[in-house]
Amino acid sequence: MTRNASSLISAFTGFLVGILCLTAAHAEDPQRIVVAGGDLTEIAFALGAGEEVVGVDSTSTHPQAAKDREQIGYVRRLSAEGVLSLSPDLFIAAHDAGPEAAMAQLEAAGVNVQKMPDAASVEDIPAKIVAVGKALDREEAASALANEFATTLRTVEQKVAKLDGTPKVLFVLSVQRGTPLVGGSNTSAQEMIERAGGINAATGFEGYKPMSREAIINAAPDVLLMMESHAGRSGGLEAVLEMPELAMTPAGQSGRAVTMDGMLLLGFGPRTPDAIAELARALHPEAAAKAGL
């Protein structure tokens, strides 16, 4: 009798503990996620966590559904209380999300803040996908996506390798007061141009800098590359091509100019292989079809 009762009690206790564990596990499964970083938002949606994302930063422009989420502002200028008003369980932050004080305040308020690694090169993107998957507790989907990414990237690279000719590409970020702001060495733009079978026409300086007229004429780019939104702001591609310094280059004379979505081209998100393929097609219009791109 006593033994029965004690076994009953222990069974019941076990049952209780089991329920507690279950609810605890359930509580850990993130339900309300805020993401700061356009590339991270893309990865979260690609991993199927889109439904749980309640807020994104202003660089999150893809997929379309991300634009319906609450807008928390620019990734380097977040407001801790603004983010907290979305009552997030999980905050997935780009490596450069800030300011520091806001991140500390979020952690103090009990939000699970997960900083993601920086992808300095296309090669680092799978690691970023895996890291986001880990934060979202979707590790299987993440490793599948990372593998798919690597495979697609390899296929695209093999096709790009078959293309001959390396057009000189000038990446113009924006036109400020009549001077083009150009992507030099050590930029995401240069890496994308090179991976798409082109070479960067702007050499001799790092980062995005204003480039002087004579230097642009000297660089003699064959193709002008711009981000869609910025091309529009600068009065359209034609207007940029008609700028005196560009009109005198091969690109200006043949009218060769390419625009791409900014996040697609420079975001270093899961769509990067597609971006390389798209750019390669634009840089080698005839050869690309033969190479199967």
């Binding site: 807020g55 620019y74 801790a80 209380e81 450069d96 009990g110």
Partner: protein
Amino acid sequence: MLLSVLCLCVMVAELALGPVTIPPDRILAVLSGSGTQAEHAIFWQIRAPRMLLGIATGVALAFSGAALQGLLRNPLAEPGLIGVTAGASMGAVTVIVLGGALLVPAVIAPFMLPLAAFIGSAVVVAILFVLAAGGRGQSITILILAGVALNAIAGAFIGVLVYISDDQQLRDLTFWTMGSLGTAQAELVVIVSCLALATVPVFVWQTRALDLLQLGDRAAFHSGLNVTKSRLLIGGSTALSVGAVTCAAGPIGFIGLVAPHIARLLFGPVHAVLLPAAALIGVVLVLSADLAVRMAVPPAEPPIGLATSLIGGPFFLWLVLNQIRKGQRIA
């Protein structure tokens, strides 16, 4: 009197309102020590430091502005005019752009930006005083002209750094120059607020001197005032208080210029009344601007610099026009 009530109201609003709704009973719960971790953090880590920094900023800018307008006998004087703000910006920009290249111990790394901003403003003010001290009776003119020159030099220096910065640093810079009460750590807020508020007694002590200085330096001297000492005390306090709040909140324009004028229009030119009134107005302006940016487009938050001018500007204009209609002198 009415002003202090208004000031108290915005202070309570600053604590009670925000994108996260915390009802009054929950605020009492937080104050009595209960309340959830999130409520606790929002109240003590986010809203309370913002309020403290807002008060310090309003007081420091308004006191400095009022005192400088009196000292220089120039209605357009403000902390920015003599280069204090530009000096702080120079320090901050240096850290934002070259910070990665400087070797600093990890302990002080989070405080590098405010420290540099403070050193920047201190250096500018030190140069000003050395120049003005050799002025032989023309120190006021020298102070203003040297301020113009130092502003230009600081501007050029910032320009060079902006040129060599990468795009991310550039965005940090742009946002820093628009100011915010929400980006400073709580510890830093306490330090700079103490520094800024420590200068309050000095300003209050100098109110009679400021009144005398309105007669001109010579007349003030013959009334028994140690003009050089007053100038040093007021200039030093301005550098300390404005340098301190600028390093935590960024350059917040307009308050230092307009709060004293509003106070003068409402309460007249006697500095013993003018200074406290300007300080209250400064606090009301800064805190209501902060509330405005916080509540405008949550969960995002625009910089406070946009709101101070948007709120203070039209009000100031209305006040001036009203005064003209009544046929009164303005300054």
